[in-house]
Structure formats: structure tokens, C-alpha cells
């Protein structure tokens, strides 16, 4: 099997740098915001990678038959997130990064909305959304 121990993190860093490059090298403000969004998604991806456990499943409790959803089918087995069901071990991935990233996604769209309304306002005042033209007009004043 291919060595997989750090591939995910490296790929996420590549995506992060793609977003970062769009953010610092483009003059168009909408393009910058798209780059910021790409950067943000890759940070989310990095956190979710931290929470993944190989062979694990989504952190939704699987109940053993008969107990009817009271959570007793899940038992403690060791330090890691193990559970026992019909004698077979169920591994759940770590739910904490998922919770944190749910918050991050929603805050991200709030940031995007605020940034875009700034872009609309800048376009109203300057007639352009290219950063170099805005600077030129500012200097002309």
C-alpha cells in the first residue's frame, strides 16, 4: 500500500497555497474573495483530516437491536473512541473537529457576505473593483 501517513496534509497545504496565491497576486477584489474562500475550505479540510480515524465511521451512534435508542449499545473500550456492537468493535471518527468546522463554515459565509458588500460599495464609489485602479484614483486625488 502506498505511504499515506501525511499525503492528506500536503494536499491540503497545496490547496491552501492556491487560495493564498489568488488572494495576493490578483487585483480583482471578487477574485481575492474567491481565493479567501478556497483558503478557508482548505483549513476546514485540514481540521477534518485531524479528526479522521482509519476504518472509522461517521460519529452517529449505531444502536444494537433491542435497546431502542437509549445508547446502551455503546460501551467503553479503551482510550480511543471504541464501542462494542454484537461483539464487533465500531470505531467512530472524532466529532469535535466537525463541530468546530460547522461553526467555521457559517462564519465564513458571513465574512464573504460582508466582503462582497464592501466590493459593491467600492464599485459604487470608484467605478472599478481592480485594486491597482483604485490606488491610482486615490493617488490622483
Amino acid at each position: 500500500m502506498i505511504s499515506f501517513t501525511l499525503f492528506n496534509y500536503w494536499a491540503v497545504i497545496v490547496l491552501m497555497m492556491v487560495g493564498f496565491y489568488a488572494l495576493i497576486s490578483r487585483d480583482n477584489l471578487v477574485k481575492k474573495l474567491i481565493g479567501l474562500n478556497i483558503f478557508q475550505t482548505s483549513v476546514i479540510m485540514m481540521y477534518v483530516s485531524f479528526g479522521k480515524i482509519s476504518g472509522g465511521t461517521a460519529p452517529i451512534l449505531i444502536e444494537s437491536g433491542g435497546h431502542g435508542g437509549d445508547g446502551h449499545g455503546v460501551q467503553v473500550a479503551g482510550d480511543a473512541a471504541h464501542a462494542i456492537r454484537d461483539g464487533a468493535e465500531i470505531l467512530y471518527s472524532n466529532p469535535i473537529p466537525h463541530v468546530l468546522m460547522l461553526t467555521a463554515i457559517v462564519v465564513g459565509v458571513a465574512t464573504l457576505a460582508l466582503g462582497l458588500s464592501l466590493v459593491v460599495r467600492i464599485n459604487e464609489a470608484y467605478g472599478t473593483i481592480e485594486e491597482d485602479e483604485i490606488t491610482r484614483k486615490d493617488n490622483a486625488a
Binding site: 499515506f4 501517513t5 501525511l6 499525503f7 492528506n8 496534509y9 494536499a11 491540503v12 497545504i13 497545496v14 491552501m16 497555497m17 492556491v18 493564498f20 496565491y21 489568488a22 495576493i24 490578483r26 471578487v30 477574485k31 474567491i34 481565493g35 474562500n37 478556497i38 476546514i44 477534518v48 479528526g51 479522521k52 461517521a58 460519529p59 452517529i60 444502536e63 435508542g69 445508547g71 455503546v74 467503553v76 482510550d79 480511543a80 473512541a81 464501542a83 467512530y92 471518527s93 466529532p95 466537525h98 463541530v99 460547522l102 463554515i105 465564513g108 458571513a110 460582508l114 462582497l116 458588500s117 459593491v120 460599495r121 464609489a125 470608484y126 467605478g127 481592480e130 484614483k137 486625488a141
Partner: protein
């Protein structure tokens, strides 16, 4: 065997994401860039499913691929979709990006291996949430829901405060409230006088434009 399959899907999706991201940078049509950003969000939602984060995946698909795309398209309707050619060299940004990426890759040497159950991230409260949330919170099988709404409820409350602040900001920016102090139009800055309405300003600009076209070579005499 199934783990290998999962890893293949993971690698393919990550490569697709990289291609989409580079295409976003290369295109000069903002409409295309926005559509590609939507595709990027959707593919990353697929990747989140592969990494067991189903809640993150459907939020990303709804918010990232849905609402963000709608917001971006609304903006494009107001500002146009053409991006001008970059004026300056791209060597410096490329250098910064490569150095930053190199430092980050160097930093991954200390990261525990991907997917190991013994990683430090899984050792503290995570096990408690998984073992006991079924009993403590009561009949909610989805651990993410329990943590989001109960164990870390304050986090979610803070999030709503952030969204409220952003909404107030958007409303203040987009409502036709007070005018800026000066407006750039047809080659000069126009000072906005106190008590001036938007219509007055437009009328003044049109007057000046008509005046400028009669006086040939009118010089800029605007010392701010």
C-alpha cells in the same frame, strides 16, 4: 481492502480540488471563476463524506456551494464579470507562496500520522462525547448534534452573534445611507457637501461634465 478504496477516492478528490483551484486562478472571466468555486465547494463536500464528516459535508454543500455562489453571482450582477489583465509581475507572490508552503510542509513532519486511533486529538473529551452523549443528552444518536447544541452550546451562541454583526455590517454598507466624503467621477474627485443628496451629487457631476466638454483642456484644480 475497503480502506485502500477510500484512500484512492480521497486522493482523486484532492487532485480534482487542486485542478479546480488552479483553474479559478487562471480564468479571467469572473462568472467562470464563481462557477468553479461552486464546483470546488461541492467536491470538497464529497471529500468530507470520505473523511466521515457528514454534517460538515452537507453544510458545505448547502452553504459553500449554494449560498456563497448566490452571493457571488449577485455581486457580479452589480459589478460586471470582466477581470482586467494583471499589471504587475507575479514572481513575488509566487515566491511568497512557495516559501510559505515549504515552511508548512516542513511543519507537517511533527504531525501525528493521518488516521491513527492513538493520535492526541482523540484522547481527551472526544471519547467521553462518543461514549456518554447518548445517555447524557438523551436519545440523540448524532454525536455532532449533541456537542454542537449542548456541550459546546456557547460556541454556537457566539457564532450567531458573529452572524448578526456581519448582517448589521452588510445592511449598513448596502443601505442608501450617508454618502461618502468624496466621489470619483470622470477624472476628478467631487467633494460631497453637508446635506447633499445622491440626486444633487449626480446633477452636479452632469453639470460639470457638460462644462468640461465646452472648456477644452480644463485643468484639475482640486487640492484636498
Amino acid at each position: 481492502m475497503t480502506e485502500t478504496m477510500v484512500q484512492i477516492v480521497d486522493v482523486v478528490l484532492l487532485i480534482l480540488l487542486a485542478i479546480t483551484g488552479i483553474a479559478v486562478i487562471r480564468t479571467r472571466n469572473l462568472f467562470v471563476a464563481v462557477m468553479l468555486a461552486g464546483i470546488y465547494s461541492l467536491v470538497s463536500a464529497g471529500l468530507f463524506v470520505v473523511m466521515d464528516a457528514v454534517d460538515v459535508a452537507f453544510t458545505e454543500a448547502a452553504v459553500g456551494a449554494g449560498i456563497s455562489t448566490v452571493l457571488l453571482l449577485c455581486t457580479l450582477a452589480l459589478v460586471g464579470y470582466k477581470e482586467s489583465k494583471p499589471q504587475h509581475t507575479t514572481i513575488l507572490p509566487l515566491f511568497v507562496v512557495i516559501v510559505t508552503g515549504g515552511v508548512l510542509v516542513y511543519g507537517t513532519a511533527e504531525i501525528p500520522p493521518f488516521g491513527e486511533p492513538d493520535n492526541p486529538a482523540h484522547q481527551n473529551v472526544a471519547a467521553h462525547y462518543i461514549h456518554d452523549s447518548g445517555d447524557e443528552i438523551g436519545h440523540i444518536p448524532n454525536v455532532v448534534t449533541s456537542v454542537l447544541a449542548s456541550y459546546r452550546g456557547y460556541d454556537t451562541m457566539g457564532e450567531t452573534a458573529v452572524i448578526f454583526t456581519a448582517m448589521v455590517g452588510v445592511l449598513l454598507l448596502l443601505s442608501r445611507g450617508s454618502l461618502p466624503k468624496r466621489v470619483y467621477h470622470a477624472g476628478h474627485w467631487h467633494k460631497v457637501k453637508r446635506g447633499m443628496t445622491r440626486e444633487d451629487l449626480i446633477a452636479e457631476m452632469e453639470d460639470e461634465e457638460a462644462h468640461d466638454s465646452t472648456v477644452v483642456g480644463g485643468e484639475d484644480e482640486e487640492d484636498g
